[in-house]
Amino acid sequence: MAIRERLSGNEAVATAMRQINPDVVAAFPITPSTEVPQYFSTYVANGLVDTEFVPVESEHSAMSACVGSEAAGARTMTATSSCGLALMWEELFIAASCRLPITLALVNRALSGPININADHSDSMGARDTGWIQIYSENNQEAYDNFIQAVRIGEHKDVRLPVMVCQDGFITSHAVENIELIEDDKVKEFVGEYYPQNFLLNSKQPMSVGPYDTPTYYMEHKRLQAEGMIKAKKVILEISEQFEKLTGRKYGLFETYKLDDADSALVIINSTAGTAKDAVDRLRAEGKKVGLLKIRVFRPFPAEEIAEALENTKSIAVMDKAEGFNSQGGPLCSEIKSALYNIENAPKIINYIYGLGGRDVKVDNIIEVYNELEKINKTGDIGNKYRYLSVRD
């Protein structure tokens, strides 16, 4: 029986951490993810977990400690946001290239400047090519469910990569909402014990981690790392299937909502997907053929599957909660466009930059986007391909 609860997104992730009971958590507080290590450190203090909690002096040190402890063979976790992730930058690459399956709870927040503490995706989108698997969450339930699955995905022998599980700062991290929790023992059983194949504290197999790699082998190692990312897609789906057997909650690489017969579609990430579903229902009630695709797994990017799901639409608005500053649009739009490049009669694609620095997004704002798509479908004229949603001119 599932446990009916009400928790904020942060407390949901901290609860998942408690149930998993990792060997090491090393973290430095930063708004809005602060509550995750805060809740977790009380679990440590109250003896609910036997984790070694390392309160480090910066995020640079947090990720360094995670790299060291995961290399030693310990199941390791952390949490951060925004500039905290930026300060981990160098170590993010090291964690991925050393094939260390660290699990990171990322509470998405804008990067400075101007200084802003509210939600957007500029932190995780900036880290999209660091070699980490990225999984996104619409609400507290998904943040909790994804975090539990992330451990299995990263540690899988075919993958062995770090995973960041993202949710929107404040919008879901600080909102108390209903959630269904899994019993502690079932989470422990699902996640299982961690037996790394190679680890530093294995006296029978001395090894070094992260040494200098000469041009003779560097490329082969990168090729192997890329292979782990390619194989992750299948592993993510296998683990989703097992998770569905446990909870009844179905996860894929992405979620489609009323997309099958849709003429106009949105592609969207995280909390605004929920708002957009209400917009879809309102427009469907008026007989309009609209739907959406919500990205769950951004790295690896499920390009072929997304292309198949979107190929019968007439027009698509890709919603980016991060600027790309490439003068063409946001990072999600670039991915979607390349995914659809080889489709015959590909749908028309426009890009919206929206919700930067916590700019609120209402159902009406999303309806505005669908109205623009309808206009494109009627006139055939795509107009401006790179737009901003609800912004002052």
Binding site: R6, P32, I117, N118, N139, D168, F170, I171, T172, H174, A175, V176, E177, N178, S271, T272, G274, T275, K277, D278, R282, G358, D360, V361, K362, V363
Partner: protein, 190 residues
């Protein structure tokens, strides 16, 4: 959509409007509802205006935006009436609850042409009487539960007792005063 009750809280940093919105979410959850309780975050300081929100529904809530057309508005500090348009977007068939020693008729002229229902409650008097200190959020929580009718009063009192026992496990001496404030407030809201 229509069976969602949406509530907007206006308070000042330190008065507990955010806590009250989370407590309301808590207590509505315990009656089997789907809930959201969330504050609007910014660079808060003690005394600065803050906003918090609640959605309470029989169905799953998916929307993740602030609330612009609330069914109910709670004003925890009457000095906000000068600087904030507290009735903005408030549904005509909704109501506003204000912490003030004035009567609804007296306060109406400060609400810039608002014609809907007004309720008032002297949360300062109740709080000082029950707790010996000024914590306006507990009486305001009672007031909004009564005015909105989101749950029965007996159930609210029972669940709050339970909630305070959990919340104040380390300082049980404050439970009685808070419960008293809740109960007086249910009687005194005008």
């Amino acid at each position: 959509m229509s069976n969602v009750t949406e509530i907007r809280w206006h308070g000042r940093g330190g008065q507990g409007a955010k806590t009250a919105s989370l407590l309301l979410a808590d207590v509505a959850f315990s009656t089997g509802k789907f809930v959201q309780g969330f504050p609007e975050y910014g660079p808060e300081r003690m005394g600065a205006p803050i906003t918090a929100y609640n959605r309470i529904s029989k169905n799953k809530i998916r929307v993740h935006s602030n609330i612009y057309e609330p069914n109910f508005v709670v004003v925890v500090d009457q000095t906000l009436l000068e600087s904030i348009d507290v009735t903005k977007g408030l549904k005509p068939d909704g109501a506003i609850v204000i912490n003030t020693e004035k009567t609804p008729e007296e306060i109406r002229k400060e609400l810039k042409g608002y014609t809907g229902k007004i309720h008032t409650i002297d949360a300062r008097k109740i709080s000082e009487e029950a707790l010996g200190k000024y914590f306006p959020n507990t009486p305001m929580l009672s007031a909004i539960v009564k005015v909105s009718g989101v749950m029965k009063e007996e159930i609210f009192i029972k669940e709050m007792q339970h909630s305070f026992e959990h919340k104040f496990a380390a300082k049980p001496e404050v439970i009685e005063g808070n419960m008293k404030a809740l109960k007086i407030a249910l009687q005194e809201v005008k």
